[in-house]
Symmetry: C2
Subunit: 453 residues, 2 copies
């Protein structure tokens, strides 16, 4: 048996994950709408044998504070699925994961787009299924306020089931395309979903053949109670934010146990925490790189960043060098808010200290160190039940990704923890996820099996 | 002043526009989900200097008759915008027009995707705005029946206004991205649409910078009364189906007059009828190519094709060699039904004769001839007030497109009627459409102009 290896996603995001990345002298300031920028990053990640590139998303300009909005590089960005389709044409092997919200789309359209991307890319598509949590997004879609947290997740769960059902509209061999006989498709291998649920009525079938992966890979990020339950039932990859190894271990164990309760093998769910690495040849060099970025954060931006993560709570009236006030309950992303509060209380942080702490990684694990120390931490999380892999959130592009590829990957490879070449050609193969058989095939096989007496 | 020249779209569609194209020995039978197929066609069209490639769409498997469905190659196809994004990455100059329905999408999502495509492609995106007219589509989107014809168009009109308003969310110079000063964007150049209408409430702004074309090109195809009115107000390109030159002339004159009533210059609306060309070096060779395709049509398919075009009326009980029965009114695409009836009555056609007549071009002008005779017809329509250009619907791929490029284009070029090289780099420049200035810029200019006494 070959050694279990770390899975790695390259989380691409405009100029970088640090809030001030766009001000870095080497950053491509117009990265959000610069296609060549993403072509270069995607090819870099592919040359380095990452499992996938990953794109987050939001369906609004999210900051309502004009002074902060003016200083943040998040308001002009490509719609990720459009971008990913274009990147599919200029890459060969790397997986392609895009975020599309279940809150403001229709499942038929989403199923079709990802099935199309899976066809175009030869089996490299992944869908990061999220719910939309902000008022700003709701107001772009005919609503005054966002849906309640539990409602979003009920809709998301049904949305997932409709999409995966639509992906199974056709068996793999439903299209003989026999020119002589004039038979293009076999209607006995067509399975319209005929779904009638609380949120959706969708007849089907999808007008795309079953795709190379059977189904594109389903990714999720929610870490709330509702989010964990949905992920344990449906997700194949989970991106998650942790601050400590203990949190990571607890989450990992919890998710794998929940998955087992849904009759799933623990290996069928890959847990990949986000990691924000600042890499230096020495610890001092790493620290210097980090401080350089931190020094570029305008306090207006830091405070508004906290407001954004707390679900819109306005912190601008509070002393930036005083403590974080009590926060009201929110219908926004609950897990992040809890994490933030835990962090501030644990370390007795002021508002400024807190925003400086999270400005880079936004609640994800921030590691500032040498290739050896970073590899040590990844190895520990990976080998001691904290992670199956990591979503690498480079502080700035391209330098932060270059550092990880050039310095940390060789160290992981030296330890046998990361691939030197792709073995498969699909995202499922990279991740070690089985290609799902068609339910009708499974049912026929079960019917044909000899019965127990 | 340079000679006015014909605009040409290459209407790409799986194996070809003829209903039996997939059975042609040279056809790529799996074209619908074969990305390489489309890469080849797109590059061919670009090398031939077409203005744009064009993709139609439908959001359902449309045939409910299993025997016919099994014999038609229309049930597995890429979602066109996903496909077009991928093609953007492997082409340089040609325009990219995808159909997206206003009936079952949200304007914020559509505005974002086309703005992204326009950024990715360097200003080559066009949106073919349609309404969805079939029950099969409605049933994939939480409905039992399609919307009524007039309701679809009211929604489409409001949808258009929201999308174009979102495209103007930012002035062209709204993103200074000044690293030193820390100012990424200029909030004084942000214009949230704050739309509140009968169908949509959309606050904005869009989270994509204003795109290279200012706005992607808006294309429409409706030829009903509602469709003409919407197109005259909002469309920049109109694809339309005509059977005769007289029809084409009447439509052309009507649309240009309606556009003038909306205060638009007639040249701001390009009329491009669909043309289905079967090209031979001699008339006999052309005819032979056509008959070869016609002979591949299964009668089951022919009859069901008519049912589809008549809005779902089931013709399977009628004598295929008898006359077409009276058809009830429909909420389906009205202009096509009327056109079909006119055609059958005019020529006294049986059901078989009618399906053979429309199997290829589906109501568009079918021309079977030599390069000279086809060029004559295009020239007449173009010079005598019937068309600004044509959307070329190749009977089969790649051969039908090769014939048009290799035989007809040289003849058009010899007459000075078609370009030998691209002059511009955006779709607007190819089509001779002005880049729309931002409304706020126009308003400031108007305010600054000296007032009349």
């Amino acid at each position: 048996m070959t050694q279990r290896q770390i899975k790695l996603g390259a989380f691409l995001m405009q100029t970088g994950h640090h809030i001030a990345a766009w001000r870095h002298p080497e950053a491509q300031a117009d990265a959000g709408v610069n296609f060549r920028h993403y072509v270069e990053l995607a090819r870099k990640a592919e040359a380095a044998k990452f499992d996938a590139i990953f794109f987050a998303d939001g369906v609004a300009v999210r900051n309502s504070n004009p002074a902060a909005l003016a200083r943040i590089a998040r308001s002009d960005q490509f719609e990720p699925l459009t971008l990913l389709s274009a990147l599919a044409a200029v890459t060969e092997r790397i997986g392609l994961i895009a975020t599309v919200s279940t809150s403001y789309h229709e499942p038929f359209n989403v199923a079709r787009k990802f099935a199309s991307l899976d066809q175009i890319s030869g089996g490299r598509a992944g869908w990061n299924l999220v719910t939309s949590a902000t008022t700003a997004e709701a107001q772009n879609f005919n609503r005054e306020h966002q849906f309640a947290h539990a409602d979003r997740y009920r809709r998301a769960a049904e949305f997932h089931d409709v999409v995966t059902g639509l992906w199974d509209s056709w068996e793999d061999d439903a299209f003989p395309r026999d020119k002589e006989a004039g038979i293009y498709l076999d209607t006995s291998k067509l399975h319209a979903i005929e779904h009638r649920g609380a949120h959706f009525q969708v007849r089907g079938p999808l007008n795309v053949a079953r795709s190379p992966q059977g189904r594109p890979v389903v990714v999720q990020a929610g870490a709330s109670e509702d989010g964990r339950d949905l992920a344990a039932r449906t997700a194949e990859v989970i991106f998650v934010a942790h601050q400590t190894f203990e949190e990571a271990q607890a989450f990992y164990g919890d998710i794998k146990a929940r998955a087992a309760q849904y009759g799933r093998h623990p290996d069928a769910v890959k847990v990949m925490p986000g990691i924000f690495p600042v890499v230096g040849r020495t610890q001092a060099e790493a620290q210097e790189k980090f401080e350089r970025l931190q020094s570029l954060i305008d306090p207006l931006v830091g405070v508004s960043l906290l407001s954004g993560i707390t679900g819109g709570f306005d912190l601008s009236g509070y002393d930036v060098d005083g403590p974080l006030p009590e926060l009201p309950p929110t219908e926004g992303p609950q897990s992040r808010q809890r994490l933030l509060l835990d962090l501030a209380r644990r370390d007795g942080l002021t508002i400024r200290q807190l925003y400086l702490r999270i400005a880079g990684a936004r609640g994800h694990q921030q590691v500032v160190g040498t290739p050896g120390s970073i590899a040590d931490q990844l190895q520990q999380w990976f080998e001691e039940g904290g992670a199956d892999g990591f979503n690498i959130m480079s502080p700035w592009f391209p330098g932060g990704l270059d550092d990880f590829i050039g310095l940390v990957l060789p160290e992981l490879r030296r330890r046998g923890l990361f691939r030197t070449e792709y073995q498969g050609s699909t995202l499922r193969e990279h991740l070690g996820l089985a290609r799902p058989e068609h339910p009708a095939v499974l049912a026929r096989r079960a019917a044909a099996a000899p019965r127990a007496a």
